[in-house]
Symmetry: C2
Subunit: 161 residues, 2 copies
């Protein structure tokens, strides 16, 4: 379980590392604790999540991250996907999905530190662009991404099947 970075946020420190199968329960709890996730997730049955985790874990284009306290409690997560494309002169792009920080660990810069690492890693892998979408109702998230230098230049369309 190799640590990718030691992150300092407020008076706390966190270890950023690649998620393992053992992190699945805590990650799903973070997803389910979210205002929108509450209706979409169910930690009662981890089986569909476990299948998805296998697909993520065996795909070199995916990087599922967790941040844990020194005591080992998983308190934040994010997923990076590296997508090759022809547009923008064959630019590789990094896409960030499923960002969650436990509410008791918000507001002192942990999310910002995780994004700083993710952006640096995207640059290291040769990406020309980092992109994400966030629900229009998440106004605090919009301010957060604005401050990080992201531009809300696009409409994000979704079609549920």
């Amino acid at each position: 379980m190799s640590v990718l970075a030691e992150l300092s946020a407020g008076s706390g420190t966190y270890r950023l590392r690649r998620a393992t199968g053992d992190d699945l329960g805590p990650i799903v709890e973070l997803l389910a604790a979210d205002q929108l996730g509450a209706t979409r997730e169910s930690a009662a049955d981890l089986e569909p999540y476990r299948r998805a985790f296998e697909a993520i874990d065996t795909d070199p284009a995916q990087l599922l991250l967790v941040a844990a306290t020194p005591g080992g409690e998983v308190v934040a997560t994010m997923q990076l996907t590296f997508i090759p494309g022809l547009a923008r002169r064959g630019a590789l792009r990094a896409q960030i999905e499923a960002v969650r920080v436990h509410e008791q660990h918000r507001g002192h810069g942990l999310g910002r530190e995780m994004f700083a690492w993710a952006i640096a890693e995207s640059r290291r892998r040769g990406c020309a662009l980092v992109q994400l979408t966030t629900d229009k109702s998440r106004s605090a998230a919009h301010r957060f991404y604005d401050r990080l230098g992201f531009e809300a230049s696009h409409e994000g369309f979704k079609l549920r099947l």
Copy 2:
């Protein structure tokens, strides 16, 4: 060069198929002919595109499509990416990028037919969601996605590196 679908649009028919290396020139011309692409693409040097094409072509999560006339002229393109994730009970999602239809082949339903195929293929692969982002200035595209049943529920943030 196997045909995935025969598409009828207006009085024309088109063959939808997986892109090959020989399609690279025509695809880049489609990308460069676009209002926004004009400043971002350069068909004069195909080398960066060729590297990106290799990455796309060897990745089973990527599906780069072209639609061609019966005479073999490539007149439209789109890229599908299949992304595993934990959110939404471990949902696989399909993402669509780099959609372009030659201006002389617009307005009689070719784009709609390509999307119908892409949505059916996403369903066949078990996706719970199809998603895309489009520049806020592309108002005709917004109406197109609205009509297809997509919901503009998200803000699309981009950070250029």
